[in-house]
Every structure is written in structure tokens, then in C-alpha cells.
Symmetry: C2
Subunit: 199 residues, 2 copies
């Protein structure tokens, strides 16, 4: 590596810090980029510079956009009284891909965690309570991950919202569409059985 130019070494070192990439895959990616300087590396560098300048968090919900309000918070048609609480922007995008939710979002920015010393104030939980108080909210849908921390956070939020006159719901748990029972974990199967519905 001593023979790779300094900038290229620096580039590999930064790329290796991206999630999902390590030193070896960063090296491969950088070589690929250098080979395709014109078609790939220049557009990537330009787009990245632009995004680094313009991307910002929505002051209302924490989604990523280019203005004080993200496109969803700025869209009046999404003001249907529903707020979907997600951990992360990636989860918001996943919900949007599902095209089943027509309300607005609230991105917590993580989950409560005693181990990592993350308290409600470190997340956007106070802001959520402000929104429920201030906006006309009828339902808060908790779309948190089905992990221990996710569910702890869901319970905490549900507790915090009791008595505020909003319905608090959470995503159904059960067999995924296209899922094969044989490949499902025991927890999912028993949750699906407990939540069974008449056909």
C-alpha cells in the first residue's frame, strides 16, 4: 500500500468506514472507481458534494430533505391525523415503498438503550409529544423494529402518550408474505398463532 498515491490511500481509508465495506472491499470499490473515472467517479463525487451541501434533517419529523420541512411534512395531503413513528430514515423509506401509509412520520433517530446510555432526550421523543399536543393527531402508529430495544422504546412511547387522547397502534406481527413456516423462527410462529384471525 506504500506505493498507492496518498490521496488514493486516503480515499480507501474513508470508504472502508462506510457500513458494509471493509478495507478489502473499499480497495476494490476505489479501483473500480478509478477505472471508471469519467462515467462513475466524477458523477459520484459531484453528487456527493451536492448532497453534503444540501441534505438536512426536517425540523418537524427528522426525515432527510433539502429544506426546513421535508416533502412529506410540507405536503398538506399527508395531514390526515396519523403519525408513523420509525427508528430511522431507512425505515421511513421502507414504509414509503410499502405505499400503505398516507400520514406523516416521526423519525426517532434510534432506540432507547440502557446499555448505550440513550435516554428519551437523546431521541426525538419530546418532539413527538410536542407534535401530538400541537398538531391535530388522532393516531400514532409505532413502526419500530421487532427487537428488544425497539419494543422497549415502543412501550415507553405508548406509556408517554396515554391520556393524551390519541390512539396508539403498532404494526402487526406474523408470518411475512411469501414466508415459509419451516424457515421462520419460533418467536414469529408463536406470535402469529396468538394473533390468529378467522378466515
Amino acid at each position: 500500500m506504500a506505493e498507492a498515491p496518498k490521496d488514493i490511500e486516503a480515499l480507501i481509508e474513508i470508504m472502508a468506514r462506510l457500513p458494509g465495506l471493509g478495507p478489502r472491499s473499499a480497495r476494490r470499490a476505489v479501483l473500480h472507481l478509478i477505472k471508471k473515472r469519467g462515467q462513475l467517479m466524477r458523477p459520484l463525487a459531484e453528487t456527493m458534494t451536492r448532497v453534503a451541501e444540501t441534505a438536512r434533517e426536517c425540523l418537524n419529523c427528522g426525515n432527510i430533505g433539502t429544506a426546513d420541512l421535508c416533502p412529506i411534512c410540507a405536503d398538506d395531503r399527508r395531514a390526515n391525523g396519523q403519525i408513523c413513528v420509525v427508528e430511522d430514515v431507512a425505515d421511513l423509506w421502507a414504509m414509503e415503498r410499502g405505499q400503505a401509509f398516507a400520514g406523516r412520520y416521526h423519525v426517532l433517530g434510534g432506540t432507547l438503550s440502557a446499555l448505550d446510555d440513550i435516554s428519551p432526550e437523546d431521541l426525538r421523543i419530546p418532539r413527538l409529544i410536542d407534535r401530538v399536543t400541537g398538531e391535530t393527531v388522532t393516531e400514532v402508529v409505532l413502526a419500530l423494529n421487532a427487537t428488544v430495544d425497539g419494543q422497549t422504546t415502543a412501550h415507553y412511547i405508548a406509556d408517554a402518550l396515554t391520556g393524551m387522547g390519541v390512539a396508539v397502534t403498532s404494526l402487526a406481527q406474523g408470518v411475512p408474505i411469501g414466508g415459509e413456516l419451516d424457515y421462520l423462527d419460533d418467536g414469529t410462529i408463536s406470535a402469529a398463532l396468538r394473533a390468529r384471525k378467522p378466515v
Copy 2:
């Protein structure tokens, strides 16, 4: 995804074209970058812009550098008469990490392949023959991958160099350092047995 700003969507789309990344990991990487705009995304964009401007292939050997001659070709101490032939710059870097080779390199830029219609002229094979004719070369070390295409290319080069007064050698094949026999494929074991040495 319709709700992610256009530039961010474009960034994800370009990142997903890097080797080792797909749409999902590109999305994760981009969100991570946006979260760490200051520490990670801006330096990455700047370094990438710089590398896109300066990186170029060495006119002599095909290595990546920032001048007409790469640091190795520009270094007179490396003119020991040995040329190590590798498929790719990544392989050159791997050889350099091994710190066992003190000569210069020749990067082919791929392997011969009848399937992909890659002929000697598509690689830097003519240039290698020029170098062997022009420079004072005593040995050509073939460090090509132990794949079918790699070995075909090695044979082709060895044939092309016969009668030119250079020794043509190739990397030894055998048990990797730290390798466990039980996990090695049959081909490696039989190659190592055939090449066995007195202790």
C-alpha cells in the same frame, strides 16, 4: 423512495453500482454518510474529486499513480531486472504488501478470455514484450491468479517470451501459510504434494 430528494436518490443509485454494494447497502451507506456529513461525507467527496482529477495509469506498467510514471517505475532502485506480471492493480498492491518483491511490475489489466473475447491486444501484453526487448530484463515473474483464465494467460505470455533471453517464472503453488489441510481443496493438496521439497 419517491420521497427521498432527487440528489440523494441519484447518490444511492450510483453507490449501488460499486462492486460489493447493492441497492440496500448503498442506501445504508448513503444514510450513514448524510448523518456524518461533516466528518465523513465532505472529506470523502473532496478526496474523491481530487483522485478523479489526478489518478492516472502509469504509461510504462499500468499501475495507478499521479504522474506519467508510477512511483515504482520512477524509482531507480527498483530497476533490478525483474518484472512481476499481475492481472490488476489490486494484485500489485497485494504483492507490495507481501514486501518480498523488489523489482518492477507490469499490470495486464485482465486476463485472456475466449468467452469474453479478450485477446492479447486488449491487455498490456504487447507493451510487456516491448519492455522485455527494451529494458534490461533478466526475469519475468508471472503472478497471475490460479484460475483457468489466469493460467491460460500465463502460458500465453511464457510462450511469447521464449527465445527472448529472459527467465520466466511463476509463483509457487501449495499450502497457504496458516492453512489447514482439512479446509484445502483437492487441487491445492495435490499441487503441494507434487511440488514437495526435502526438509
